[in-house]
Symmetry: C2
Subunit: 348 residues, 2 copies
């Protein structure tokens, strides 16, 4: 294909040296406007494209930021990426997005590929399977790493999370306010911190109101509707079946709704449902699903901001301190839980 044109070609064409051309591009103060013009014009004419591999090698930086997320098809993550994208691109970086598909090997492979690509920083959210964080810890010794949402704590790694505990408390409290008495919980990967925090928030409200608690009421699920449906079916066969469910993700809540529908149990009259994340599907299902909004785009933007700040600090001195930010979550009440306590058709 077309021969690549380099600064040497441009230099030859307009009769200066490569070094002058380089300076012209970087807007060096001591280069004449005339040369600058000539260089720019020649570059355009010849179809010059700077080789970032060479620039990167020379400058010791790639201009790349790496992203590792479970999967881009969750609106939570695609929105977060949108937030990241905006900040990062105005700061002059490009994004390399990779997906772990919640698999540990994929995640490790992605991290290493990003490091070899010499990304200058990394923004990530843990794969569901992951319990060994050494790949991230290793990465953090070379470049700033910012974890968002699904994080672990390390002295070299920044974290941006939402208030999962508070979100869970608000969600479960809302179910209580609506008159539901026996509230079960569908959880996600148990080793993932936000899910653990949501369990804590759930338990907190139950204890506060001295509501029925049962180990069987907390079901760990893989993130798909089938698991939510199966778990709900198991719960309905429980000797003391619940009358409401708080799910740690919308897709699980959706699975639960499918199970309820199949059994002819009415939502919200007979059974309350609330999810978590405000995924697109939560507003599409019938009845519309109550959920907890995680401000995904802001969360992503925040993670990007933290990273970019650290990239700047990095360049000046070594006074690096990781940052931990927690942003609020917001309860969104829709139809799946909107029942007056008085109107409760309590099943016992």
């Amino acid at each position: 294909m077309a021969k690549k044109v380099t600064i040497v070609d441009i230099a030859a064409k307009i009769g200066v040296t490569p070094s002058a051309v380089s300076k012209a591009f970087s807007d060096h103060p001591r280069i004449s406007p005339e040369t600058k013009q000539a260089v720019l014009r020649a570059a355009k004419e010849m179809g010059y494209r700077p080789n970032v591999l060479a620039t990167g090698l020379r400058k010791g930086k790639s201009g790349l930021i790496g992203v590792v997320v479970p999967a881009v098809h969750y609106s939570f993550f695609s929105n977060a990426i949108k937030g990241i994208e905006e900040l990062v691109s105005t700061a002059g970086f490009n994004l390399v997005i990779t997906q772990s598909h919640d698999n540990y090997e994929n995640e490790t492979r992605n991290i290493n590929a990003l490091l070899r690509a010499r990304v200058e920083g990394m923004i990530a959210s843990l794969a569901g399977e992951t319990t060994d964080y050494s790949a991230y810890r290793d990465a953090a010794r070379d470049i700033p790493v910012v974890l968002f949402d699904r994080t672990f704590t390390d002295e070299n790694i920044s974290e941006v999370t939402i208030d999962d505990f508070g979100g869970a408390v608000a969600a479960v409290q809302h179910l209580v306010d609506m008159g539901y008495k026996r509230i079960a919980h569908l959880s996600g990967y148990k080793n993932i911190l936000p899910f653990a925090k949501r369990i804590e928030g759930y338990k907190h409200v139950l204890m506060k109101h001295r509501l029925y608690m049962d180990d069987d009421y907390i079901c760990e699920c893989m993130p798909n509707r089938q698991e939510g449906q199966a778990a709900m079916e198991r719960l309905l066969s429980h000797r003391q079946p619940p009358d409401a469910i708080f799910a740690a993700s919308d897709v699980l809540a959706y699975g639960a709704m499918l199970a309820l529908q199949k059994r002819g149990i009415r939502v919200p009259q007979d059974f309350g449902v609330i999810g978590f994340s405000n995924e697109e599907l939560s507003s599409i299902v019938t009845p519309s699903m109550s959920t907890v909004d995680q401000h995904s785009e802001i969360l992503g933007a925040m993670a990007a901001k933290v990273l970019i700040d650290q990239l700047h600090i990095e360049n000046r001195d070594n006074a690096f301190r990781p940052v931990r930010k927690i942003i609020n979550s917001d309860l969104i009440i829709r139809d799946s839980s909107r029942r007056l306590a008085s109107a409760s058709t309590s099943k016992k």
Copy 2:
């Protein structure tokens, strides 16, 4: 942060030259097993990570494949990316995914960023706004470019598409079979080929059955539910309102369903609805939505295969010929259109 270790450091440590170390890594035939072992062990101990910037510069290749899609949050595109990812990573490349958000400037910026990053090939699907293809044509003079789904035709660019015409024909024919008589169409960006082909398919069936046709029956919409809803409302106020709709995307069909619901028009009894793409939402809405599956993952894999093949050809000779592949689409019949012709509660 940690000092970067290079092959020079490894060489110094085990008392050989950098070139020997390089050869050890690339499994050069004429290097002794002992040296190889020593190099590998030292590399591990010292935390060596090859600098792909240097390798890339030296070899003239980055090991990167660029992707440009409208947005990763459509399940169509995220599934396609999954298909791409698999093939591309087994071929030893990494993916740089960028989003145009259907905006021309974003798209051009992404293409240029990818070229500067020296991606070895590019897989893309046009932004909705785009009518000027020169950025892609320019790119294709340097590296192989494969367009999928939303394509344009260029002698240097390969295309992988689905049979949009056939898919549209099947969808509209199905509505006809179900007894719907006045079928309108919600289209997407009119300059995007697949949408144009779906219009053709739609018209083809209408003409074949001598059904009512009207310019107002074809509405161009932006890809969001609000536009679908607004267009549906306009159609319902038409002097001759339709009794069914074929939408060029599921999200538009969903918007239409919202408008119908608001007016108390029953789907599918009073009004038939069919979408396109088999997005996740189509199976979630009530009633479940009939649609046309595009085999997104296979489509992505196919695009990746075409690209990788061309990368190989490229390395051998210059006998480059672009490839054009069309894969089948599949009609998926769900509740939003499943009505017996005889059961039609025709509204005149």
